[in-house]
């Protein structure tokens, strides 16, 4: 090739890991891979099913129906029970499916991790994106319920929706990536996840609002603030800031710990997977 053609080549060094960096620049270079992993998982999730994406709607609706039959009757937090439980469920499902799939993602994708390099964070983040996709489907079904029960929706609704989703997303990612990193070393995590999710459902204000005596402990649950803030957009109830702050801090701590623990250990995933 003649000299008028100049190659600008990226130079880099591969060496033992010294400090943890977030590698945001690298994540940006691989941004298309987020899309592909998310797209793959959504596609595969509903492949060869008769109802397809409708499952994303059936699941919360069926759960809502069961909860209403078993626990329903009285209003909760100024909302009819169906609206109360469905509003909690659609966000809770993001957390439960997201944590489950992110927590297992390193193990299920072990064959790729062992053979190809890319920033590992893409995988748990994609798992969270997949569960957010399900949320969008479920949210569309939730809207008619607000109209049917003629619920007064405040102007803050879009903002509270956003806040709720953001807290859900960061805590799902935080817990999910922490478990993913632990799972690759200690496969016990595989058995811990379903149990943990099941237990947490009862400790999250999805089925019932917990009594104030236990709230200080239960507020450590990051999903407490996500769901309560989301409901604030349509339930005209005063916010209990002391509990919310505990819960929001907990979401942020899970996010930071999950992210850093993942980054710290990811270099050895290929050896352990």
């Amino acid at each position: 090739m003649p000299y008028n053609c100049i190659f600008v080549l990226m130079e880099y060094e591969i060496k033992p890991q010294e400090k943890i960096s977030l590698g945001l620049k690298e994540l940006w270079q691989y941004r298309e891979l987020f899309f592909f992993f998310t797209w793959r998982d959504i596609k595969v999730k509903y492949k060869q099913t008769f109802f397809g994406f409708a499952w994303a709607i059936f699941q919360p609706l069926l759960m809502m129906a069961i909860f209403t039959i078993v626990f329903g009757g009285s209003n909760q937090e100024g909302l009819p029970y169906t609206v109360f439980s469905l509003s909690g469920l659609i966000l809770w499902n993001v957390f439960s499916t997201g944590v489950t799939s992110a927590g297992n993602s390193m193990v299920t994708n072990a064959n790729i991790i062992k053979k190809i390099y890319f920033p590992r964070l893409i995988i748990p983040i994609s798992s969270v994106l997949v569960s957010l996709f399900d949320f969008i489907m479920a949210f569309i079904i939730f809207i008619p319920f607000l109209f049917y029960y003629k619920i007064h929706v405040s102007l803050l609704f879009p903002l509270m929706l956003l806040v709720g989703v953001v807290i859900t997303a960061i805590s799902t990612f935080g817990v999910g990536s922490l478990l993913a990193a632990l799972n690759i070393k200690y496969r016990d995590i595989r058995y811990v996840i379903p149990f943990m999710i099941q237990a947490m459902l009862f400790l999250t204000p999805v089925i019932k609002v917990p009594s104030d005596t236990w709230k200080y402990i239960l507020a450590i649950n990051p999903m407490y603030s996500a769901i309560e803030l989301f409901r604030f957009g349509f339930n005209d109830q005063p916010l209990q800031w002391n509990f919310l702050l505990i819960s929001i801090s907990s979401a942020v701590i899970f996010f930071v710990v999950g992210l850093f623990y993942f980054r710290k250990t990811e270099a050895f995933f290929a050896d352990l997977a």
């Binding site: 060094e13 595969v44 053979k115 050895f268």
Partner: protein, 377 residues
């Protein structure tokens, strides 16, 4: 977790032996060079490639690279059976580091190369395994990184497709890209790489021109399969008038080795010790891996070194064993060494090598080339 819990209560008495899969290996590769990497199983080849492709970090030392590195440690990584051929091309390409634009631009070439256009919208799980491999290789082959790392991926598909793959690799090499190529197939290394690195137990044994390195590798790898007196107990030779001391293989120039090309003469050297007053006979039988005898040959022993020359282009590819007997008048053997020494014939280019496909099995054509003639009328 259990280990670390237990260790709280129990003082650790175990000591760990440090193991380095690679140590003290350094080399330079210039832009546009194709470098082969050879070595036995466990020599550290795959570890080297894993470090080069950033999959595992080195525990010390560093690698400086200029350009995008793409690695093909296994074809079809990330393929998903539920997705269609078309979808898998995009997914796999993207995992291998291609941009969506690049994949789109090369899509037709990839499909064409793999020959799967009819099934593009069929889920991959319905593809035959050969088709999956072809598609996987095609995606990888049309990657355009500056540095390409390949680990034995050519061992896929039928002979025709392998040839196509080698052709494509040569094109990549010629287009100014750098290739690092690991393979057990010496023929492919010879075809692709001008320079080769030879690793053994994590150490660099030699680097240089491919031909030199390969002949060193073949010589070296053979040094274990020979027979020598040190393998025998005293009991074994006691009371025998004449017995085997050493048995080994050399090429025509006297170089000891155990891997031969089909086009090389093989010298089997028998060194004997003892007294040969009675005029013993040496009987040699060559058997193949299935223990079928291929041929036998005998001669009177004179002196303490007897050499059997097996002509070139006589044995086909495979592993052959020697059974050697010292006897007299066809009576009870004086000494016998059975089937524990072997040599290997390599064949990359004979007229039979082309039959190494899924439709034929090379080994089904017998063990000898058999110099027959077709008479024309």
């Amino acid at each position: 977790m259990r280990d670390s819990l237990v260790s709280i209560f129990k003082k650790s008495t175990e000591t760990y032996e440090e193991f380095y899969a690679l140590n003290d290996v350094s080399f330079n590769v210039n832009q546009g060079e194709s470098i082969g990497i050879i070595g036995k199983n466990g020599a550290g080849k795959s570890t080297l490639l894993k470090i080069l492709s950033k999959i595992t970090p080195p525990s010390s030392g560093s690698i400086i690279a200029r350009g995008r590195i793409a690695s093909l440690l296994e074809v079809g990584t990330g393929f998903h059976g539920e997705l269609s051929g078309r979808e898998n091309i995009f997914l796999n390409g993207s995992i291998l580091g291609m941009k969506q634009k690049e994949i789109k631009a090369r899509f037709d070439e990839i499909v064409d190369f793999s020959g799967t256009e009819k099934f593009l919208d069929t889920p991959l799980k319905h593809f035959s395994s050969g088709m999956q491999l072809r598609l996987a290789f095609a995606v990888a082959a049309f990657l355009e990184p500056e540095i390409l790392i390949i680990d034995e991926v050519l061992a896929v598909g039928d002979a025709e497709f392998q040839k196509k793959c080698m052709g494509k690799m040569e094109d990549i090499g010629r287009s100014g890209r750098t290739i690092l190529f690991v393979s057990h197939q010496i023929a492919s290394i010879k075809q692709l790489c001008l320079k080769t690195i030879y690793l053994e137990s994590g150490k660099m044994m030699m680097q240089g021109e491919t031909n030199d390195v390969i002949s060193k590798y073949l010589t070296k790898s053979g040094s274990q399969s020979q027979f020598s007196i040190s393998d025998r107990s005293l009991q074994d030779t006691k009371g025998k008038e004449l017995y085997f001391e050493n048995i080994y293989f050399t090429d025509a120039s006297g170089q000891r080795k155990t891997e031969f090309l089909h086009s090389e003469d093989i010298h089997v050297v028998f060194e004997t010790a003892g007294i040969n007053k009675l005029g013993f006979t040496l009987l040699v039988t060559v058997t193949n891996e299935q223990e079928d005898p291929i041929f036998s040959s005998e001669t009177k022993i004179e002196g303490n070194k007897t050499v059997l020359k097996i002509n070139k282009d006589f044995l086909k590819r495979g592993k052959f064993y020697i059974t050697a007997t010292i006897h007299i008048f066809s009576t009870k053997p004086e000494d016998k060494i059975e089937r524990n020494i072997s040599f290997t014939i390599l064949d990359f280019d004979s007229e039979w090598a082309k039959y190494d496909t899924i439709h034929y099995s090379y080994s089904s054509f017998g063990s000898v080339i058999g110099n027959c003639e077709w008479l024309k009328y």
